[in-house]
């Protein structure tokens, strides 16, 4: 129970803490995504240029179709 209370206090403190200039730099760095493998794929971001390229290179289309653009949202 003591641990739970300590954790809750810590979280409340984190949630309401003011951002000092040092915190700003640290937070801005920490909030960047880690290096992700999927970003190394040469994704096209819409169907028409992808279809044109697929035809030119004689390759099939692999379509990642989501609710929200998978390359940029959520």
């Amino acid at each position: 129970m003591k641990l739970l209370l300590f954790t809750l206090t810590l979280l409340t403190g984190l949630a309401s803490a003011e951002i000092s200039p040092e915190d700003f730099q640290r937070l801005h760095r920490e909030l960047q995504p880690p290096a992700e493998t999927w970003t190394t794929v040469p994704w096209q971001s819409s169907l028409i240029p992808a279809q044109q390229l697929a035809l030119k290179e004689k390759k099939p289309l692999f379509i990642w179709a989501m609710d929200g653009h998978p390359l940029g949202c959520t």
């Binding site: 809750l8 810590l10 979280l11 409340t12 984190l14 949630a15 309401s16 803490a17 003011e18 951002i19 200039p21 915190d23 700003f24 937070l27 801005h28 920490e30 909030l31 960047q32 995504p33 880690p34 992700e36 493998t37 999927w38 970003t39 190394t40 794929v41 040469p42 994704w43 096209q44 971001s45 819409s46 169907l47 028409i48 992808a50 279809q51 044109q52 390229l53 697929a54 035809l55 030119k56 290179e57 004689k58 390759k59 099939p60 289309l61 692999f62 379509i63 990642w64 179709a65 989501m66 609710d67 929200g68 653009h69 998978p70 390359l71 940029g72 949202c73 959520t74």
Partner: protein
């Protein structure tokens, strides 16, 4: 983000995508509604899959020929299943290589939907992360959600860039856009955006050195969700052109949305970062989530 951390973290799938396929990401919300050649092409492919009711989602992974002949569909995240699907599709494609087709062009695009940033728009990359409060879990999918860093893009219009550079003050339209569409927890899926009436407080000012400071308080009318945060950042210009837009929001968040279920209980810390990008990567050009259906409303009155 489940796909990014599972299917598209597999080196063999990445290798196949890099060499054997033309990979494309789309927000099918737009394509299944689009009344133009691109919409027709999507409906031709998806119409042969199991999700062929275009009043509902057609989400999933599809493989098709350049002529739009459907080859495969799956909505599973398991890398082994997807690899098998890709290899089988390559075999199937071999038999259709000589399919007669021509490059698609769109003479009359359905302008209700944008696929890239309009000319002159400055693009700011946005990432959000829940910084604590989750209960420990052994479930691998929940772990992905709990550790995820979201992505979105914020648009700044040419007029807003001019106001920022000339007056060193934030245009109300930009503060509105930040508040409604970007100060949101989108780490577990598509967020439910705030409404104008949910903005209890929103201030953001710039000092002579370009330091940004502000506060935000957003709260849904029904009290189910809120975000109270401090904002800090720095902005700089070369003549009237933005060269830096670094901003952080940090504060206490409560609640989730229809597609962002299972937030931490109670108030939890949410951090959101903003960073100017140069627009050169395909990731930069993806329109903001808030602009997906009615982009004019996302920009608001200018």
């Amino acid at each position: 983000m489940l796909d990014r951390a599972s299917t598209f973290a597999d080196p063999e799938i990445i290798g196949l995508l890099q060499t054997q396929f033309i990979p494309v990401g789309i927000d099918q919300f737009k394509q299944r509604r689009q009344q133009d050649k691109e919409g027709d092409f999507w409906r031709k492919i998806a119409g042969k899959g199991p999700r062929n009711d275009f009043n509902n989602t057609t989400q999933g992974l599809y493989i098709a020929t350049p002529g739009g002949t459907f080859l495969a569909f799956n909505n599973n995240r398991g890398p082994e299943r997807i690899k098998k699907l890709m290899l089988e599709s390559l075999d199937a494609y071999d038999k259709l290589r000589d399919e007669e087709t021509s490059p698609l062009t769109v003479k009359k695009p359905d302008n209700r939907f944008l696929h890239k940033a309009p000319d002159g728009i400055r693009i700011v990359r946005v990432h959000a992360k829940v910084l604590g409060g989750y209960k420990p879990t052994d479930d691998k999918w929940q772990k992905i959600f709990q550790q995820s860093v979201s992505r979105d893009n914020l648009w700044i219009t040419p007029r807003e860039e001019k106001v920022l550079s000339e007056t060193r003050s934030f245009p109300s339209s930009l503060i509105r856009r930040l508040a409604l569409y970007h100060l949101i927890d989108n780490t577990r899926g598509e967020p439910s955006f705030w409404k104008e009436a949910d903005i209890i407080k929103s201030t953001l000012s710039i000092d002579a050195s370009g330091n940004l400071h502000g506060n935000i308080h957003l709260q849904r009318g029904d009290g189910t969700s809120s975000y109270q945060a401090e904002l800090r950042g720095i902005i700089s210009f070369n003549n009237s052109s933005l060269t830096r837009f670094d901003l952080v929001a940090h504060g206490g968040y409560i609640g989730g949305g229809k597609y962002t279920l299972t937030p931490p209980e109670g108030t939890f810390p949410l951090g959101i970062s903003f960073r100017l990008v140069d627009g050169s990567s395909p990731f930069d050009q993806i329109p903001p989530q808030g602009a997906k259906s009615w982009w004019q409303n996302y920009l608001g009155p200018q």
